[in-house]
Symmetry: C2
Amino acid sequence: GMAPAVHAQAAVRWRLASSFPKPLDTIYGAAEVFANAVKAMSGGKFEISVHAGGELMPPFGVVDGVQQGSVEMCHTVPYYFYGKNPAFAIGAAIPFGMNARQMNAWMMHGNGRKLMNEFYGNYGMLSYAGGNTGTQMGGWFRKEVKTVADLKGLKMRLGGGLVGEVMAKMGVVPQSIPGGEIYQALEKGTIDAAEWVGPYDDQKLGFAKVAPHYYYPGWWEGGPEVDFFINRKAFDALSPENKAIVEAATTVAAVDMLAKYDARNPEALKQLIGAKVKLLPFSKEILDASFKAAQQVYEENDAKSPEWKKIFADFRAFQRNQVAWFRVAEGRFDSYMQSIKL
Amino acid sequence: GMAPAVHAQAAVRWRLASSFPKPLDTIYGAAEVFANAVKAMSGGKFEISVHAGGELMPPFGVVDGVQQGSVEMCHTVPYYFYGKNPAFAIGAAIPFGMNARQMNAWMMHGNGRKLMNEFYGNYGMLSYAGGNTGTQMGGWFRKEVKTVADLKGLKMRLGGGLVGEVMAKMGVVPQSIPGGEIYQALEKGTIDAAEWVGPYDDQKLGFAKVAPHYYYPGWWEGGPEVDFFINRKAFDALSPENKAIVEAATTVAAVDMLAKYDARNPEALKQLIGAKVKLLPFSKEILDASFKAAQQVYEENDAKSPEWKKIFADFRAFQRNQVAWFRVAEGRFDSYMQSIKL
């Protein structure tokens, strides 16, 4: 066949600010997987340097950085920016939200990506999925918590998003502490509990020694999506092939992160159980009270933020259908597999 | 910065043979998603024409086609080639195997892709994931089946892989019938039951009218992987950037297919239930007997095929860890969500 006209692609150099520290290797590493894929696909003509949290700007300053154009893109969890507008949380995870697969379905073939990008447009950004951890664990507790009464006054380190407001309604006193300082706070008893991610990441921080009651599930993070946010002007300036390359590379990174967590968590969990960790489910009483408290927070957000209200209505309607379907083939298959000895 | 040396990428034209007919639009369409991504990322310099099942070669002749180099690649379900060697089935789905996420984890960060590609090397091919349907349904039955005794002599249309052998051990008489002829066979009573895919695809074939008992789960397809097989010589002849583009585009297609099924199945299921379909779970008796029969088939395959034996041992060890982990955070989150009114 005829060779198409030769045209040289201009060299493109971008910077990506991550919200994550390098030791959180699975999450942080997804940005490197992304950048490597872009470089390989473009034959080295499009290079993106990846900068760990704090290197170019504070970890939670990355959205401002992208909006202002000081970096072309970032890798972060949208719920960190809940304070700007609660609608950010829906793009990552809300308590009793969707699992990883359901979230993908909403984003890709429901209205999810479209609605979120309309909203992110207010910040001069567009988003692509950049990973998922799967359902996280509910965290490490110095003492057992069986009832809602056990939560009253409990000082608990929590991550981003709505969970702090939901927990506060149940009497928990949310604490904001960087990952590196959690161990010491638990050891000293400055805090009573802390949630981080899941077995693979948690094991490295050694919480088992100081707070051996390891609860599940992290009902506030059933399938948290990590995102790439890209400055729209920078994106629009790309050639059509580089746009397609960026989009595909985000997918490569997103799939890779979840597969990596799924492959790594089981072994870490086994080792934790071997180290005498007490693996405990949250009681139905606690889950039910948490779910009820979450509905109140949703309603408060409906009143506070029209963006939340619009996006949440679509999210919840989609979720209802998803859960009804996952109850059937997928749910029954999984529950049967979990009931037998392989 | 300095622009890298300009070099013209030669135009590349490939042909892809699909095993699927166009009306199976979600599965068939994934090959088009793939080809469109390759074209966009390469700026039109790499074009892949997609040919529906039967257009260039018979739907189940595509592995021979790739091996012989009459096409550069195909899009198919590896278990169709179970007759060549049972190890093919492990690359797609085996009864009581892994779900879609677990399969991805094994392929990408366990030994899955490495072991399967060693095996596929015997056919001059390499593989990439090219989609997943999620857990399929167990099929349509003219009459209720409650016990293993109810399965004796039952003529059931089944797809590929090991399920026929497992079902035969329970007295079922497996039938091989193309999709387009199932409806009539059920209507006439030539067969008693038929499995196809899930609500979205099944609804279009109208089985509800002639076999209204719709069972779940399809325990033989907990997370069937659809694959792209590529002729190794053709792949090796690609430039490094085109190799990277092909790899990323397979991921885009794979993620898109599962998200599309997850988005489409719930609405179809609702409509089926509205049309008086009787949605029924397989009884524990039937599941337990099927699981036992599957173990026998696994053992027979261990004796027959050293390739099966090697790959299955790794698959099963990985699966044990996966299921133990999914029982915790992910499983408890899903089961709680399925227990409440959203």
